[in-house]
């Protein structure tokens, strides 16, 4: 493990991005990913360790009408306990309920889960369904700058994002879901929570009678990053959910997921699970 030469715990965003501008920083929030990865040698500490947990204004959930903003330091438990999340962003709440354990939910932050960029990341699939954007703040030229990026464009590969070294992910913006929008998150596992997802699926849409509109589908653990499923969405958009539509959606899904074999499952089994799970989710829509 590399030696840390400086430890800082800034209390303001300005202070934090100034430290990032200088460079060579490992960022830590809850620590649940950083600590494990440093101990197994997956992460080498940079000379500066910056604890961002004390930065003011980076936690909490705000309803601004057309946009809902979630501070990057909001913990999974805070999301689970939030009435706003329960009422307006229920697909995200479902993911938080399947996340790890109470102890880990109390420490893990939404920003941390996003920056860890695991293809199996529990919150990432619902956030893709919700058309989330990440807000990145930096101070490259003396003044604070901000940019927002759709989450789907933020992931670069397994464990990698397009966050620039001088940037801090400060919040997640979600366009308020349209009226009648309902989302379901399914994570495969034998336990309610303490599991890395073998596969996960997020499905969201507005139901108009038997027809689905504004369909969003996202998949976890079947690609190098969590992904949206545009072909699956196209097969469902504006259609009545009947047997033919379901079969078309399943074919489309098979084309756009590319699972691998690893210690948790084989690629073949993951494909089977995607098909059977998506079928079950759509049948549920069909029947209700």
């Amino acid at each position: 493990m590399a030696a840390i030469e400086r430890y800082c715990a800034p209390t303001s965003l300005e202070e934090a991005v100034e430290l990032l501008r200088v460079g060579d920083v490992t960022i830590v929030a809850g620590g649940t990913d950083v600590m494990v990865q440093s101990q197994i040698g997956k992460l080498q500490f940079k000379p500066v360790l910056m604890n961002i947990r004390r930065i003011a204004g980076m936690a909490g959930i705000r309803d601004e009408g057309r946009t809902i903003r979630i501070g990057a330091l909001t913990t999974m438990t805070e999301l689970l306990d939030s009435a706003l999340v329960r009422d307006r962003l229920s697909i995200l709440r479902q993911a938080c309920d399947h996340f790890a354990s109470d102890q880990l939910r109390n420490a893990s932050t939404l920003g941390g889960n996003i920056c860890n960029a695991s293809p199996a990341g529990d919150t990432l699939v619902p956030l893709l369904v919700l058309n989330a954007r990440v807000v990145l703040v930096s101070k490259p030229n003396g003044s604070v700058e901000r940019r927002a990026l759709p989450l789907a464009q933020f992931f670069a590969g397994p464990g990698r994002t397009h966050r620039r070294p001088g940037e801090l992910l400060t919040e997640i913006e979600l366009p308020a879901p349209p009226p009648g929008f309902h989302g379901t998150f399914f994570k495969f596992g034998t336990r309610p929570a303490l599991d890395i997802a073998t596969i996960s699926i997020g499905l969201g849409a507005v139901r108009e009678g038997r027809v689905l509109r504004d369909v969003r589908v996202a998949y976890g653990s079947v690609a190098p990053t969590p992904i949206r499923g545009p072909r699956t969405e196209a097969a469902l958009e504006g259609r009545t959910v009947d047997t033919a539509t379901i079969e078309a959606a399943l074919s489309a899904a098979a084309e756009e997921v590319h699972p691998i074999s690893d210690v948790r499952a084989s690629d073949w089994y993951r494909s089977e699970l995607i098909r059977n799970t998506l079928r079950r989710m759509l049948n549920h829509v069909h029947q209700s």
Partner: protein
């Protein structure tokens, strides 16, 4: 060797000042620097819950928490809880219900249970089972642990 960081925090109700290496875990600080061995090393990766402590009122895996992040916070370990009313109720219940065999996981369960009961005073057996899903036990099969926590949830006779 990483740089040392000076921190001040409340530990089991008493103010504490200590200097810790920046990369040290809270678990190792408690056990090795502060002599509080009730919190256990089970896995070091947040999967077993043997290292559970309370920080600012919520439970955490101390193996995953940087010691430096205790600065300014309120930390309670099994040693502090054992002396509290809730801790006593849980101890009586764990003893009475046979929820302890080798006992290695027990402090982690007791700490987690205090938080669980504070948040869900009327937790059902199913809610208790979910509430302790981050704590592993190899000896008891969990049944008696769930019964003990349910018993400790009841109002004092």
């Amino acid at each position: 060797m990483s740089i040392k960081v000076e921190i001040g925090f409340k530990l089991n109700g008493v103010a504490c000042r200590i200097s810790v290496p920046a990369d040290l875990s809270t678990l190792r600080m408690l056990r090795e620097e502060l002599g509080l061995t009730g919190t256990k090393y089970g896995c070091g990766e947040g999967e077993c819950g043997a290292c559970t402590i309370v920080v600012d009122g919520v439970t955490m895996n101390s193996c995953l928490m940087f010691a430096a992040d205790c600065d300014g916070r309120d930390v309670v370990t099994i040693e502090g809880l054992a002396a509290s009313r809730r801790g006593e109720r849980l101890r009586e219940a764990f003893v009475k219900h046979g929820a302890v065999q080798c006992g290695f996981c027990t402090p982690g369960f007791v700490v987690q249970a205090t938080r669980l009961l504070e948040k869900h005073p009327q937790a059902s057996a199913a809610e208790i089972q979910r509430g302790i899903e981050g704590n592993l036990c190899r000896c008891t099969g969990y049944r008696k642990i769930v019964e003990a926590i349910a018993d400790a949830a009841l109002p004092d006779q």
